[in-house]
């Protein structure tokens, strides 16, 4: 039994939540269509395509075309969801997303699978570590980085039902601890308080939320009380909560399975320096490409496990001035 199971957390890949949401949404929204790019099972778009084959279109291995097709669907009044791995969605089709989708405010939802280093043995080419940076800089884009399968489900539903315009939902491949359930609230643009504390705040997203909870438990055993925040919406960012955490805890550590440069932590830092500057540090990938390995092994090697987070937290609070 691993540490997550000991905690009572079931291990489920967040991509499952994306697939479940699509199936659920399809019932309520006859105008919902899904466009795939030869990765239908892997992205879990299969949960939709198997039940609603007439509303699923495979673009083949042609991500740029798929992104454009999704935008075109919106001209015909459809809500189009385009899904493939994050490297190919946000990377290969970047200009299509920028100009055709965001500039035109097309009602397109992008399901970015395989976000993060925990993609594992496929290696660097398939580990998306840049999409938070590249998607959040696009005007009109909403960016979700849910923590587990259930939150991915809710984010996907919100993307379709609450937002008219472009949304990017980032989720992962490997099973992650289910830390939320059906009753857990999900409010677009509202960071979620996971655990309270006043010595510092750890703001995390994706699989790093669970790691941060474990880090907070280690810290607690050393009499350090960390607040943990799940920043499931990187854009629009919850300025109010971030400022409040900076004010109340005096130090902010961010944790993400993504490049430190330009990522969620950078987005938080932009708010902190403009509102209530406090010492900050960042857990993330430090300007290197990913590589092959087992997910847990990689998280550890790249300093993205709960122990590394706890370590950084301890060093960070030494820099606190009050």
């Amino acid at each position: 039994m691993n540490i997550y199971e000991k905690h009572g957390w079931a291990m489920v890949p967040s991509r499952n939540g994306f697939g479940e949401a699509l199936r659920e949404l399809a019932e309520r929204h006859p105008e919902l269509v899904v466009i795939g790019a030869d990765l239908t099972d892997s992205t879990r778009a299969s949960y939709f395509s198997e039940n609603f084959p007439e509303r699923f279109f495979n673009a083949g291995i042609a991500e740029q075309n798929a992104a454009g097709m999704a935008a075109g669907m919106s001209l015909a009044g459809k809500i189009a969801v385009f899904s493939t791995y994050g490297v190919f969605a946000a990377g290969r089709a970047y200009d299509q997303i920028r100009t055709t989708i965001c500039y035109s405010n097309a009602n397109v939802k992008i399901g970015g699978a395989h976000g993060g280093i925990s993609v594992g043995p496929d290696g660097a080419t398939h580990q998306a570590l840049e999409e938070i940076a590249t998607m959040r800089v696009l005007p009109r884009m909403t960016l979700f980085t849910p923590a587990d399968a259930e939150e991915t489900r809710k984010a996907t539903i919100a993307a379709v039902e609450e937002i008219k315009g472009p949304v990017y939902i980032r989720f992962g491949r490997a099973p992650v601890p289910s830390i939320t359930d059906r009753d857990t609230s999900f409010e677009v643009g509202r960071a979620r308080l996971v655990r309270d504390g006043d010595d510092l705040t750890i703001i995390a997203c994706g699989s790093m939320v669970a790691e941060s909870i474990l880090a907070a438990e280690i810290l607690e055993s050393e009499n350090i009380f960390a607040r943990v925040i799940d920043l499931h919406t990187v854009k629009p960012i919850d300025r109010e909560t971030i400022e409040k955490c900076a004010r109340e805890t005096g130090a902010i550590l961010t944790a993400e399975e993504h490049q430190i440069a330009g990522g969620m932590g950078s987005a938080v830092a932009e708010v902190v320096v403009a509102t209530h500057p406090v010492p900050m540090d960042f857990v993330g990938v430090n300007d290197r490409f990913g590589e092959s390995g087992e997910p847990a092994e990689l998280l550890k090697a790249f300093g993205l496990d709960y122990r590394s987070i706890a370590e950084k937290a301890k060093n960070l609070i030494k820099r606190k001035t009050v």
């Binding site: 291995i61 043995p121 290696g123 398939h126």
Partner: protein, 284 residues
Amino acid sequence: MKITDTSRLEEIARRVRFDIIKMTYHAGSGHPGGSLSIADILTALYFNALNHDPKNPEWNDRDRVILSKGHACPALYAVLAEAGYFPREELWTLRKFGSRLQGHPAVDKGLPGIEISTGSLGQGLSIAVGTALAGKKLDDANWNVYAILGDGEIEEGQVWEAFMAAGHYHLDNLIAIIDNNDLQIDGFVCDVMNIHPIPDKLKAFNWQVFVVDGHSIPEIIDVVEEAKKVRGTPKAIIAKTVKGKGISYMENVADWHGKAPNRELALKAVAELGFPESALDNDI
């Protein structure tokens, strides 16, 4: 290293297939289907058609090979090891943390024989066009460039931009080999996004097109020789292949695109290839 004896070449290809099974089995993941479909093509290239020197991978006059369908790297790794680019034992580190044998070919790990990192489909032919263009127009080079593409892969628009550019520049030092196994991940290429007729399309882009049985090593060797002689246009070889070739339960099954066999099935594959069961675990 030019082997002309067909039975010796077929023996190498059989070992390459065994290596693909053993590597992916011990990795617990990987892409056996599309690796097995190019085992004969790579064997024909590296042991007969290519000018290369395993002891001097950066030899300036070498032919360049770009594995555009990077996920099939187990086949390439096996052939490179067999040719002597690196020790065979290293094959069993495929996809493991710290290995030079990454899940997709990576130059940053320094594995000899890897020209460039691939794995994001559709990029290799453009690279080959650039290399061929430099060789032909700037260096008057006597080497050729080979790009190996999947048939699903040519759904990528970039591939057609590259086809166009190669035709435009009359790159007769460029040979594209299309692994026409009819399958991609989501099923048959003709069902997912039809790419046919490939020969007519390529001819319209000013390519000379050859079609060959991609599992007949002597025929592959002959067609490459013939293609090398053609001047004035880039050349495409459409290799008719079977995804999963050589392993009964993998042949023509899309599901074997990207998963490793379990122990039972790996042993079955080893037996079908004529190796003793114990070979699966030797040197591990």
